[in-house]
């Protein structure tokens, strides 16, 4: 009996060793597993990006290449006043929505981070907006922001005698889009913050409490520093997504009134699909890519170690 067990365990050890050796010696076998995905990305992401670069160096007429223009499409980026106003709209949207989502979502996570009966329900409820089809939400929001007898204006009117031109006034239209975005994405900040809060070690809090730290002290000197990497990560993910925003403006305001809510992606989409100016649209796309990449490079160092576990090999 003993001998049998021993044999099994030595066999196990031998196997571990063999596997270990295999790991070290034959990464080519691993390549066999990895290759399809790598080729897939090269084919469906890297190749299109290169094709987009090629496109951006050409002029298009009626949707067909009409000639090589070098960097002219990129030069146009600097002179196009429509593009500049689009950039400003996008920036306003990004700054307002991401700031409010971060503050609101984190505050809510701090509030909910305790034992109480409805916590599971709150968590589940917060998942619903996050995965609700953005286009459908924008479409639904048309009826919610409806100016005559829509639910929001009805409420505001009965409370404060307010009548807000949500979708017909340029500023309010942008506010509407920001509000919908906040509704949809605050849960994102909330869920991730809450998950991270739950991993913080209790001992630190107990020790600090023994040392006489107050609620604010605990927050300022323990919670905030420990949560900083997570918050940077959330900020980065939110910023990247916010700069790409497309669905909600399209379905809620179609970029209007006028061009008040024409965000970057929508502007580029129209350059390509309405005016068939593919070359210039591709150049615009690269500008957006550069903006997003810059953000990522600036912020990635702060969160890199969160991915260290996967990179441990």
């Amino acid at each position: 009996m003993r001998a049998a067990e021993k044999r099994v365990s030595t066999a196990g050890q031998a196997a571990t060793l063999a596997v270990g050796r295999q790991r070290a010696r034959r990464p080519t076998a691993g390549m066999f597993f990895l290759l399809p995905a790598v080729v897939w990305i090269l084919l469906f992401t890297i190749f299109p990006l290169i094709y987009a670069l090629y496109t951006s160096l050409h002029a298009y007429r009626f949707g067909r290449i009409s000639g090589f223009v070098g960097i002219q499409n990129f030069q146009r980026l600097f002179q196009d006043s429509n593009l500049h106003s689009t950039l400003i709209v996008t920036l306003q949207f990004v700054v307002a929505s991401v700031t409010i989502e971060m503050v609101l979502g984190f505050a809510l996570a701090l509030l909910v981070h305790r034992e109480f009966r409805l916590r599971g329900l709150v968590r589940t409820a917060m998942i619903l907006p996050l995965f609700a089809t953005p286009v459908a939400i924008g479409y639904l929001a048309i009826t919610i922001f409806y100016e005559r007898n829509g639910p929001i204006n009805m409420l505001l009117y009965s409370l404060f005698r307010l009548d807000i031109p949500w979708l017909s006034h340029p500023t309010w239209a942008l506010v509407s889009i920001i509000l919908v975005d906040i509704w949809q994405w605050t849960p994102f900040v909330f869920l991730i913050s809450l998950a991270a809060l739950q991993t913080l070690p209790d001992e630190l809090y107990e020790a600090a409490q023994i040392d006489g730290a107050g609620t604010f002290g605990l927050f300022r000197y323990i919670t905030l520093p420990l949560m900083a990497p997570t918050l940077w990560l959330i900020l980065l993910l939110r910023l990247v997504e916010a700069f790409k925003v497309f669905d909600i403006p399209v379905s809620l305001t179609l970029g209007g009134p006028g061009r008040a809510t024409e965000v970057f992606s929508l502007f580029t989409y129209r350059t390509a699909m309405r005016f068939f100016d593919f070359g210039y649209a591709a150049a615009q796309g690269f500008l957006l890519l550069v903006i997003v990449m810059t953000l990522v490079t600036l912020l990635f160092r702060r969160i890199q170690h969160l991915y260290q576990e996967e990179a441990r090999w």
Binding site: Y51, I127, V135, T143, L191, V250, G285, L306
Partner: protein, 280 residues
Amino acid sequence: MVALTRTLKQAIFYLILLLVLLVTLFPFYWAFVNSIKRPEDTFQPTWIPFLQFTPTLEHWESELAIRETRRSLINSLVIATGAATLALLVGTPAAYGLARFRFRRPNNGFFITWFISQRVIPPVVVAIPFFLIFRTFGMLDQLLSLVLLNATFTLPLVVVIMTQMFHEVPTELEEAAFVDGAGRLQALVRIALPLAAPGLVATWLLCFAFSWNEFLMGLTLATKNAIPMPVYIAGAEHTRGVQFWFVGVRVLITILPPAILAVLAQRYIVRGLTFGAIKG
């Protein structure tokens, strides 16, 4: 006195919670209540069916009777199912490779970062070349194109999440299988996959939800036959005007599948959203 402030604090806590839940869930209820109201009841501030107004299913029936609606629903189902399955088929082996083998130059960390970084690219940047490429191949307005693209967009998620899953399952059983002469592929299919099954299912659900919700590529590539639900819905307002009751029906049939699937995959959502950085 102390007890009083505590009760007060409790009360404020639950009040805030109630407000948050109200704001979060209101749009869903609003869509629902409109979908069962008669047109003449639409602008009445009534909220409780049967008590305040007589509900009706006629809008659900007439909306689902429309051929285009049914076609878009089926399209979305095909695209999301196909894309999620394809992404798993391609991504899971890669994840297994990254979890069980050590690569050098480039190393495993590089591959992981490279996969994640694909998600940084704004869709509108690749939408243009995809349109031109698919036009060249005569693949505009085809479900296959949208399956391929959505699989591409969800592939990085699969690779990253599944790599973690494989890291988390014990390797002893696989090692025992090698002793018995099993190959790597057999070890993956027979042992590692069943062990990682919960993560696999959750990843599939998340990929389904993301693909179902995708809009920009659908809008760019689909013109008629391949139109998925989000694109269908975005065009509806301008052809039929804003009829609250139809908005309610359409929004609910679009929103519910991904939202319900995401709730089913709850345990893995935080991972999915942060590409594995936070486990949750």
